[in-house]
């Protein structure tokens, strides 16, 4: 059972090895001629006004929060979809209620304007 995951682990090792190898190859074989201009951050030929690491728009964060809510919901729907045949009509109604609640929440979020970028 778990043995089936072994190739995945093997490939993880291989892929990581490849990743590291590629970084090292580029690092060793490429030329090294650094200059202050070359090493400065690119901002269309100008010195950056300030550090790029700053507080950024909260809407990105909202999207992330909403994602978690809906992703959790998917985590519930997947197992249901697998055993759907055994559950039959009862399972359908149960999931219908669950999805309906979620849909109401979704409409609420929408109406509240959390999905707006304006």
């Amino acid at each position: 059972m778990l043995a089936e995951y072994l190739p995945t682990l093997l490939f993880l090792i291989v892929a990581t090895g490849i990743g590291i190898a590629l970084i090292l190859i580029g690092n060793f074989l490429g030329p090294k001629r650094p200059s202050p201009e070359k090493l400065s951050p690119y901002e269309c030929g100008f010195n950056a006004f300030e550090d790029a690491r700053m507080q950024f728009d909260v809407r990105y964060y909202l999207i992330a929060i909403l994602f978690i809510v809906f992703d959790l919901e998917i985590a519930f729907v997947y197992p249901w979809a697998l055993v759907f045949r055994e559950l039959g009509v009862f399972g359908l109604i149960e999931m219908g209620v669950f999805l309906a609640l979620l849909f109401i929440g979704f409409i609420y979020v929408w109406k509240k304007g959390a999905l707006e970028w304006e």
Partner: protein, 340 residues
């Protein structure tokens, strides 16, 4: 653990890896030639016959370019990011079944044409492709460049939004197949003489949702906002050069291959097709043909469509695809109950 099995895996791993890397390399050439064809120009045709050695030349060029790490960058994250985006992209290929079990000369037992098959295959692939976003966000943050940062932020919000629609569009398939195992999902589509694909069997809507979100998930046109060259210069990989840039490039193309393979497995019947039951050898050819169709679609889209704006992209994902995917679940479930 039988040694025999270990050897089999190792061989499959090597073959799988070579196939993936070759596909990725030649996908870039295929894309450039197809784009050239659509845009009334030649595309690269100088290196080798028909430009067939172009990927090799590109690779060599990447290796011998200067590897720049900006002074302001967060060194550790900056170096880690390309690896973090490449490794999951390569790993997903382990789980893709490109053919059914078949007899191979000199081996007395049937060999399945996939490296491994786990009972949560779909989830595993979603998890691995979901990992890719970390590499992109890290690259955007570590570069300490505003274009990169904006690219990284755009990308995270975009991938996360379309992942929802994509995951939900798969539920319809799961209702039909009753398994997360990719091999079983394909086996479920073997009816009607190998033509009972999910796209025909009650999931056309799910297929379309999946198709759109898969393009968005791989950051390809018209959803290529994270690296929109006319706005963000190159987005999250603006500061990357040499092999590190190449790794993002390989990751993107590997993700395209994986997404095409997933679409094939979930909706177009994987290796199933007319005549496969009699001649299993046809399976891999069907699979590759279907995958090529999706890869061509990627290129075709890139040649035809302008780029969406950011708010339009989010609106489309949240206000159109997501409700549509929810509705698709309800319809699929109802239909399935009625048919039971």
């Amino acid at each position: 653990m039988p040694l025999e099995l270990l050897v089999e895996w190792t061989i499959k791993l090597l073959i799988g890896f070579v196939i993936l890397m070759t596909t990725v390399a030649y996908l870039s050439l295929f894309e450039r030639r197809m784009l050239g064809f659509m845009q009334m120009r030649q595309g690269p045709n100088r290196v080798g016959p028909f430009g067939l050695l172009q990927p090799v030349a590109d690779g060599l060029k990447f290796i011998f370019k200067e590897d720049i790490t900006p002074l302001a960058a967060d060194k550790f994250l900056y170096v880690m990011a390309p690896a973090l985006s490449l490794v999951p992209a390569l790993m997903t290929f382990v789980l893709i079944p490109i053919g059914g079990e078949m007899k191979i000369p000199f081996i007395d037992r049937p060999i399945a044409l996939h490296v491994t098959s786990v009972n949560v295959g779909v989830l595993a692939i979603l998890a691995m492709t979901g990992m890719g976003v970390y590499g992109i966000v890290m690259a955007g943050y570590a570069s300490n460049n505003k274009y990169s940062l904006m690219g990284g932020l755009r990308s995270s919000a975009q991938l996360v939004s379309y992942e929802l629609a994509m995951s939900m569009s798969i539920v319809g398939v799961l209702l039909q197949a009753g398994s997360l195992d990719l091999v079983k999902i394909v086996a479920n589509q073997g009816g009607w003489g190998g033509m009972q694909w999910h796209v025909f069997w009650f999931q056309p809507l799910g297929f379309i949702i999946f198709l759109i979100s898969m393009v968005a998930e791989t950051n390809r046109a018209p959803f290529d906002l994270p690296e929109a060259e006319s706005e963000l210069v190159a987005g999250f990989h603006t500061e990357y050069s040499s092999m590190k840039f190449a790794m993002f490039f390989i990751a993107e193309y590997a993700n395209m291959v994986t997404a095409s393979a997933m679409a094939t497995v979930l909706f177009l019947g994987g290796w199933q097709g007319p005549g496969v039951a009699q001649l299993p050898l046809l399976g891999p050819f069907y699979f590759v043909a279907k995958m090529l169709f999706f890869l061509f679609l990627y290129i075709w889209l890139r040649a035809s469509l302008p780029r969406l704006r950011y708010d339009q992209l989010m609106d489309f994902g949240w206000k159109f695809l997501l409700p549509l995917a929810l509705i698709n679940i309800v319809i699929s479930a109802t239909v399935a109950v009625v048919l039971l």
